[in-house]
Amino acid sequence: MPKIIKLFLTFYRSYFIASFTLTGCCAYIYWLHGIDIFTFIFWLKILTLGVILLYLNTYKKKEFYYYMNLGISKKILLGTTAVFDCFIFLILIILVNKIR
């Protein structure tokens, strides 16, 4: 695996559990209510992801120096993993929609 992807995944690991729990909750709400609730759970996901990133930016900021010493800036790290997290959210919602 290319080193840069490994580093992104390593950083993503630091908030994966919290984020995936919220994604799971969103998928469950979607399972119960269907497409009518999508706008609500979409913004819920975006809002909670924003809170997680704000937490990381405040309480894990020292760790950003690890990634910066390897050439990855804080913005790139937060941005890339947030997009990846949203991608997982959408995939899960699409899967729930197909099964439902």
Binding site: M68, N69, L70, G71
Partner: protein, 217 residues
């Protein structure tokens, strides 16, 4: 080939207080440069400004004459040891050495106390051992220059001596900029010293200069 890092035109203000006004620093590969200054003079701010992680009203950091504003995007040019611990606690030394492309076996030969700890989580190491690991990583990192903010804090005297030896052994390939309040170590290891006082840097030629600038008695 010798590489040069020059820093000047740095201005840093906090409200009405001007912390840094008249800065000039020059580092070269093959040399260890020391930066001394009392608490609150802005040493760590200056080092962060060079690395690009602290904004300032103005700055010019040039690598071989080329201005680089966000040096943290260029680990081939500059690496930085902040004064706090920066390694993610859930990683192991083996993984960290692999990320930095540095041999863990070589590290173990320098510091046998780390034998068998390659799979330990960083958060389970003592703060001194964690610091030692960080200092070693930055010294051995494959950059033209490395900045080390308080590299000797939390190290035992024996570890400090080994780090001094490592700095001297590695300076032929890269340039170092160090700051630490354990100034005897700085005076031992550094080839040139700057003193930061009242927002200005002064090139110091002797211990008397450092005394005159009020850093030591």
């Amino acid at each position: 080939m010798t590489h040069r890092l020059e820093i000047d035109s740095v201005t840093l203000e906090f409200g009405t207080r001007r912390l840094l006004t008249d800065i000039y620093l020059e580092c070269s590969t093959g040399l260890i440069t020391g930066l001394l200054g009392r608490n609150g003079e802005g040493k760590s701010c200056l080092l962060n400004i060079i690395f690009g992680t602290q904004s300032s009203s103005s700055k010019s950091a040039r690598f071989d004459g080329i201005a680089i504003y966000k040096a943290f995007k260029r680990p081939d040019l500059l690496t930085f040891l902040p004064q706090f611990s920066f390694l993610p606690g859930f990683l192991s030394p083996r993984r960290i050495f692999s990320d930095f492309n540095i041999s863990y076996q070589e590290f173990e030969t320098h510091f046998p106390e780390f034998n068998g700890l390659h799979n330990f989580k960083i958060k389970n190491l003592s703060s001194g051992n964690k610091r030692l690991l960080e200092v070693y990583l930055i010294i051995k990192s494959r950059a033209q220059f490395s900045i080390l903010d308080e590299p000797f804090s939390r190290l035992t005297p024996l570890q400090t001596d080994k780090i001094i030896d490592l700095l001297i052994a590695n300076k032929s390939a890269k340039g170092f900029l160090l700051t630490d309040h354990l100034y005897e170590n700085i005076l031992t290891v550094c080839d040139q010293i700057y003193v930061l006082s009242a927002g200005k840097t002064y090139f110091s030629k002797s211990l008397d200069d450092i005394r005159h600038l009020g850093y030591i008695k």
